[in-house]
């Protein structure tokens, strides 16, 4: 009875998609089948935990024997018996399946505040959260702090809105506190819509109670009795876990009437978004909760004055709320010191694209992009050359290598033509065409435009059409200038943040990679060999062995040649599908 074994299985969305639930039940079955607890008098438990951020290695399983942790990667159900037999029963870890050093460096170089519980505790168990100090901050705030003290702490912490705009959270709460009204609302914005961004999802799935706790504290600070968590319906697991968490809070009297035994009432419910990207914009989000079409409205009033149903409303992002309990418990100055002078604390980024370690990383504000990409991300995949990093999702811009050493915070990213945004980072290497990348992001914003204002609805479409013709080799003289003029106009004239930031990918690539646009237009050439209409496939006569593999796969019958003699591609027939390029074992087909 001296051994305690804990098996932690990742059941975030990434983990579940890789079969996490099955792996978990396989472990549970194995415990039952071997009767390990009875036989060896050992305590053996399984835990489902949230995402640890390293989703490319899912399903990740931690096995703790008396606190000594071994982590396995890519665990499948059929691997479970061997792990169980060799490691848990006999005590010898299966070395070939455990994670390598990069897993540890990935985590060691980070500073986890918001994500500290993700992957460690069971998100479906309130006791697990309470055991790590959960709801202490809310209890402290409700029972022994005045609203002014809370607002003061948040102000001192230098926490700024993690949704992307970076409005000082303390200031927002102060406005909410000062406005007099019979009804006030607290809203948590969990409508994370940027392609490739999943920070908020991980927090909602892996540590839902921290968000709820943050909202309780905000309610106390602003005098609100009603809150909503707006989650997009595409996050079913987050919705389920948040609902479970809310139900458990009701049982514990952390939510509802007279919470924590005080005379303060606060209740929460979840509102599921219907999948519009623009509903991440505050006014559109509130219209959506009101049951109207999610369309941004002009900001004649601040939300803190007139928000949801024209009542004072404090709206913050998931990550912002998740930071709050830590600030209350550990103190504002601790949090402030984590970041830079202008913005305190840490920020979670989701780093994807052509980088070795993709996943979620949390770093203090002020670290360099280089640190994120090379030290944590492990550098560029396939040891290619770094070209640019797109930060802030489709509303952000591409930052080239020359700016890799800037300190990451709201202002410095804006200075180089990008934005912090919600924290998406897409790494691009030499094989990415910047015109095509800009087109990709603009395609997204154009489709997601609500259609209300002219610049965003028609302007982005016209920009997209110009980019389209450039990538098809139909670019004209003056297109670059037209793009710049349109881009600046859309940025200045649009109604909401979606439109104002939509031209960023184009304007930033025009700023740093203008030569690529020029090559497309003037030389009808795509330097990265990505734009299909601008590349030609040719067979290198000296390398070609005449095996005929390319000829066999060519769907257009464009390849001619007899066996064992070099083949040739008939350019008039070639549809540039690239099948031959992939099929050639000798790398004799050139793409340019």
């Amino acid at each position: 009875m001296d051994k305690e074994i804990v098996i932690k299985v990742c059941t975030g969305t990434g983990g579940v998609a890789s079969g996490g639930e099955k792996v978990l039940s396989a472990f549970q079955d194995a415990i039952a089948a071997t009767g390990i607890e009875a036989t060896f008098y050992e305590k053996c438990t399984t835990k489902k935990v949230g995402c640890r951020g390293f989703c490319s290695k899912d399903v990740l399983v931690d096995i703790l024997i008396n606190g000594e942790k071994t982590t396995y990667k890519h665990v499948k159900v059929d691997m479970v018996p061997r792990i169980f037999d060799e490691h848990i029963v006999k005590g010898n870890p299966v070395a070939e399946w455990t994670v390598e050093d990069d897993y540890y460096t990935f985590h060691e170089k980070q500073q986890k505040v918001v994500l500290s519980h993700c992957g460690e505790i069971d998100p479906e168990d309130i006791d697990a959260y309470i055991a790590v100090g959960g709801y202490e901050a809310a209890r402290k705030a409700i029972l022994s702090m005045s609203p002014e003290e809370i607002v003061d702490a948040v102000k001192k912490s230098n926490l700024r809105g993690r949704g992307g705009a970076g409005f000082p959270t303390g200031l927002k709460w102060e406005l909410g506190l000062r406005i007099r009204s019979d009804i006030k609302f607290v809203i948590c914005n969990g409508d994370e819509g940027d392609p490739g961004a999943f920070m908020d999802r991980s927090v909602m799935e892996g540590d839902p109670h921290s968000v709820i706790e943050g909202m309780i504290i905000c309610a106390k600070a602003t005098g609100s009795r009603r809150g909503y968590i707006y989650v997009r319906a595409e996050y079913p697991l987050a919705v389920k876990r948040l609902q479970l968490a809310i139900d458990m809070c009701h049982k514990q009297k952390f939510l509802g009437k007279k919470i924590f035994g005080s005379d303060f009432d606060f209740d929460l419910s979840i509102f599921q978004g219907a999948g519009a990207f623009v509903c991440g914009e505050a006014t559109a989000l509130m219209r959506s909760i009101e049951g109207k079409r999610g369309m941004p409205s002009p900001k004649m009033w601040r939300s803190a004055e007139k928000g949801l149903w024209d009542k004072p409303t404090v709206l913050n992002n998931v990550e912002t709320f998740a930071n709050i309990p830590r600030i209350i418990l550990k103190g504002a100055s601790w949090y402030r010191n984590l970041g830079t002078e202008r913005s305190g604390g840490t920020k979670v980024f989701s780093i994807t694209g052509k980088v070795k370690n993709t996943g979620l990383v949390e770093v203090p504000l002020g670290v360099s992009l280089r640190h994120i990409i090379y030290d944590i991300g492990g550098g560029i995949e396939g040891d290619k050359t770094f070209k640019a990093i797109q930060t802030g999702g489709p509303s952000g811009g591409c930052i080239p290598a020359e700016h890799l050493d800037i300190e990451v915070d709201y202002e410095s990213l804006a200075q180089v033509g990008s934005i912090m945004g919600s924290g998406g980072m897409v790494v691009l290497d030499e094989t990415s065409c910047m015109v095509n990348t800009a087109k990709f992001f603009l395609e997204f914003t154009q489709e997601e435009s609500c259609g209300k204002c002219t610049p965003c609805r028609i302007g982005t479409k016209r920009m997209l059409e110009i980019l389209g013709r450039i990538t098809r080799g139909k670019g004209r003289d003056g297109d670059i200038e037209l793009l710049e003029e349109l881009g600046r106009y859309i940025r200045a004239a649009s109604l909401c943040g979606l439109g104002m930031t939509a031209p960023n990918p184009v304007l930033s690539t025009l700023r740093y990679f203008r030569h690529e646009y020029e090559a497309h237009i003037k030389e009808k050439r795509c330097p990265a060999a990505v734009c299909r209409d601008l590349i030609t496939y040719t067979i290198h006569e000296e390398i070609c062995k005449g095996c005929g593999a390319c000829k066999k796969v060519c769907p257009a019958d464009a390849i001619r040649g007899t066996r064992k003699t070099p083949h040739k591609i008939d350019q008039s027939l070639c549809v540039k599908c690239g099948t031959c390029f992939d099929a050639c074992k000798f790398k004799s087909i050139m793409k340019a």
Binding site: A276, M295, P298, M300, C450, T454, P455, R462, A493
Partner: protein, 372 residues
């Protein structure tokens, strides 16, 4: 009160007035397409942008409250360029068939394109194309001409309280339509038609009946006691269309009857002379109530020549009415008589009618559709 400067002119307006309100007060022109003074601010067209001293970006004057000491500029090369760009973009997604458009000459978009001299468009590209199938008899909806100003949506919701239409879809394909993109099925008040700044919404009844050269005659709607002010668009003694002016007591709003129910004026079915019923020979005099339903219309559509009714002079008609009323009153008492008037009559007419029934006939059996 708030005092600030627009284009160098000092202006004092009530608190919570917008810059646009103040500019209108000074008669400074600011182009708009989505603004309507009676509707909630929208901020969609982005034409009413102005510059405020100290503000990094232009703001829309329709959604910005005036503040003390503000210095506003309504026109500058940069602003005019942006407005021109907005119009170019709107026109790049708009048919150029002004010569056959119902609203030509009365179209805000056309007018602005004229003022900004937009002849060539740098942004020709994909345009929305829609099937123009629409089953209703009143409102023609050509959504290709819609500039999504949202005025129809707001008037339907905020003034009419119906909410029959709203925005749907996203991106360039955004469209205003009834739920599930079905046919329009509302009360057809036509407020949306009246407010539409372009040719997207027009009345089917006045299709190809002419765009200019009407004699406009102000009158009162004959339908109900509200007495809305209407303006008849008349050509060659025929009413082609009905509209209402915003400065009237009904603020320019009309209902389906007032706006679309004017065909009776020149309907061939309309009675122009009194008729006296002459019972056909097959029916005995005691069988008065058992007359057959309306006979089919005689040629030319007039009922005057039927064998049930006989056209008579007003003198004869009045003599007949007086005689019959006196007979019935003498035989069965005044309460055997009842009078039904109409809400279409004026108040004075209805007053006289009830006076006649009560004081002359001596009965309280008097009513009309809107009740006495």
């Amino acid at each position: 009160m708030v005092t600030f400067k627009i284009d160098g002119q000092k202006v004092t307006v009530r608190k919570l007035s917008t810059i646009l309100d103040a500019a209108r007060k000074l008669d400074i022109p600011i182009p708009t397409l989505c603004h309507h003074p009676a509707l909630s601010p929208f901020g969609g067209c982005r034409l009413c942008i102005v510059e405020i001293k100290g503000s990094p970006k232009p703001v829309t004057s329709c959604t910005t409250f005036a503040r003390d000491g503000m210095e506003v500029k309504t026109s500058s090369p940069q602003l005019e360029n942006m407005r021109k760009m907005t119009l170019e973009l709107l026109l790049s997604d708009h048919p150029t068939d002004c010569m056959v458009c119902e609203r030509a000459g009365d179209c805000k978009l056309q007018e602005l394109a004229y003022f900004y001299g937009i002849k060539e468009n740098r942004f020709i590209g994909e345009r929305r194309t829609y099937d123009k199938k629409d089953g209703n008899p009143f409102i023609a909806r050509d959504m290709e001409k819609c500039i999504l100003c949202g005025q129809c949506v707001r008037i339907c919701d905020e003034i009419q309280g119906v909410g029959a239409i709203d925005f749907a879809y996203r991106g360039l394909k955004t469209k205003i339509c009834p739920p599930f993109d079905k046919d329009l099925n509302c009360e057809f008040c036509g407020q949306c038609v009246a407010i539409c700044p372009t040719g997207a919404l027009t009345g089917k009844m006045w299709k190809q009946k002419g765009r200019q050269n009407f004699t406009k005659i102000d009158t009162i709607c004959p339908y109900c006691g509200c007495g809305c002010n209407i303006t008849l668009h008349v050509r060659r003694n025929e009413v082609m269309r009905v509209s209402s002016k915003p400065e009237t007591l009904n603020e320019g709003w009309l209902c389906p009857k007032g706006r679309f129910g004017y065909q009776f004026i020149s309907s061939p079915d309309r009675l122009t002379k009194p008729l006296i019923r002459t019972i056909s020979k097959e029916y005995s005099a005691s069988d008065t109530w058992n007359i057959p339903p309306y006979p089919p219309l005689a040629k030319g559509g007039r009922r005057g020549g039927s064998d049930i009714f006989r056209e008579v002079s007003w003198d004869e008609a009045f003599d007949y009415i007086a005689e019959r009323l006196r007979d019935i009153r003498e035989k069965s008492g005044p309460d055997a008589i009842a009078g039904l008037a109409s809400a279409r009559c004026t108040n004075e007419e209805n007053y006289l009618f009830q006076k006649f029934m009560r004081a002359v006939i001596g009965t309280n059996n008097i009513d009309h559709c809107a009740r006495y």
